[in-house]
Amino acid sequence: MQVDNNIYKPLRAELTGIIDESPVIKTFVLKPENHFSFKTGQFIELSVDGIGEAPFTPSSSPLITENLEVTVMKTGYVTEYMHNLRPGVFMGIRGPYGRGYPVNSFFGKEVLILGGGCGLAPIRSLLYALEDIKEKLIKVILCYGSKTPSDCIYKPLFTRLNNTEKFEAHLTVDKPDKEWNGSVGVATTLLSKIQINIDNAIAVVCGPPVMMKFGTIRLLEMGFKDDQIYLSMEKNMSCGLGKCGHCMMGEFFICKDGPVFTYAELKDTPDIWK
């Protein structure tokens, strides 16, 4: 939402809670001062007062509007600063921006979600949205790969999904620890074990660029068509307004034309996996 018609002015939001998800990942709970809502898959530009701002896709349910959650991995200057914040400070939210997942077009279909690493944050929001419309879906399958068991955040989510009608969740890790007795290997290895009617399915891929590339290739090999595969391309979004030029990927402004694209829209664009 725009504050005072000024597209650059953020909405103030109080940081009301911080959840430690892993040694390098925290979820920040924010309470915006004014009404704020988003569609799953859209992103916000979150400002740390006087330090900088960075784009994040909320990991909370789009149905809950009193507050929103943003899951942040400590990666660079702004996120490192964020990880040292304490509840009570005020942050700035600009947005929501971009094109989210067209969940209404998933009605009557089987939804396959292939995720990896940091991609689980926006996927969680999508899962909440799909749970709300599950009577209209055939089934939802999550295949997720994380680097190690400790890097896998939201672990209770997997148990809950496997106990939810029409949902199933599969998890694998690249590097197991001594206690791990689940699947080992990359997320794409989970695709061999699922049962899915590809003719009536859509696939959502969300994660680091390497995972998106290999995941898309595997899905195409399985028989998914270009327009059945949805990709969340999050790449250096800055203004969020389709103006500053930083997120241009070929002819697309990721912040405005995306971040959710079908593979059909992107397949002729060079260097989409960079």
């Binding site: 650059y8 002015k9 800055s238 103006k243 930083h246 241009m248 960079k274």
Partner: protein
Amino acid sequence: MLYKCIKKEEWDKVLEQFLLSYTIFANIENEFCPDYELIRPQDIPRISYNKPKPATSLKSFFLPVRENVSCPGYDGKPRIIMGAPNCDIEGLSLLDEIYLDNEFSDIFYKRRRENTILISADCNSINKHCHCLSYDIKPYSSEKADIAINYLDGIIVLGIITAKGEDLVNRIAAELIPGDNILISAVERLHKAVEASLVTENEGLPSYEDTGKLVNESGPDIWERYSSNCVSCGACVTSCPACSCFLLIDKPGLEKVKQMDGCQYPGFERVAGGEDPLRELHIRFRNRYMCKYVWKPRKFSSHACTGCGRCIEACIGKINKNEIFKELVKQPVNAG
């Protein structure tokens, strides 16, 4: 276009009157090169008409290098910009599409745009690197300025284009003579002469659309070769009337400062994790031409290059983009 004429001496007095209500910037020919200056009454005789374009493009009046976008800096006082060449007016057209879109209209840009009257000057001569006509952009005023101006034989010829322009002309207390056929014909002859010069000077330069095809199909070698002199100074970006990328910088109190940026600077697309698709110089270099000739044309109806030639004049490494395009024309497809 409706033409009105006024003697030069009378016009200078009109400008003095306008200074009471407007801030006026005009093209002044100084020791080094022509450029805009803020006009005071004593500067009026120095104003240059229809001579080669100002060094600074119109962009700077609407997109300041650095601007606090949390509070209005520009007070909204109306202003007149005189002497803008048509290539700059066309560049503004692209900026309008980007900054005044329906979904996210930039109120700072909008306020400046609404409070500015553009008096475009027909070009009666060309600089060495002017090539607007190759891209179907005329070297004289189009419907996108408010008023067109020509200075011939002691007479100022005003072409009224928009309602805003008409409103300004209506404020002129002095008597205006309707444009007579002799003067208008003289203006049109000048147009044709300049067009002929542009055609001669730019022989072999492909059109805007053809350049897009050539750039899109080109291999990496030609870009590696031409970019070897590039030092990523960003002069091309800064001087370009159509380049408008920027950075948003955070200040305390959740304030934002908008600062012009450029894709030629290293780190333009670098992400927090360290990946940088434009890390390599020749890729960054080619990317700018892909943006201007291939990608922006798919998104916007206005030209992303208006043929002003400033990038060639400004380049420290003496890189001439038109040489690249002429070479691509001669190469077999997919070579280079």
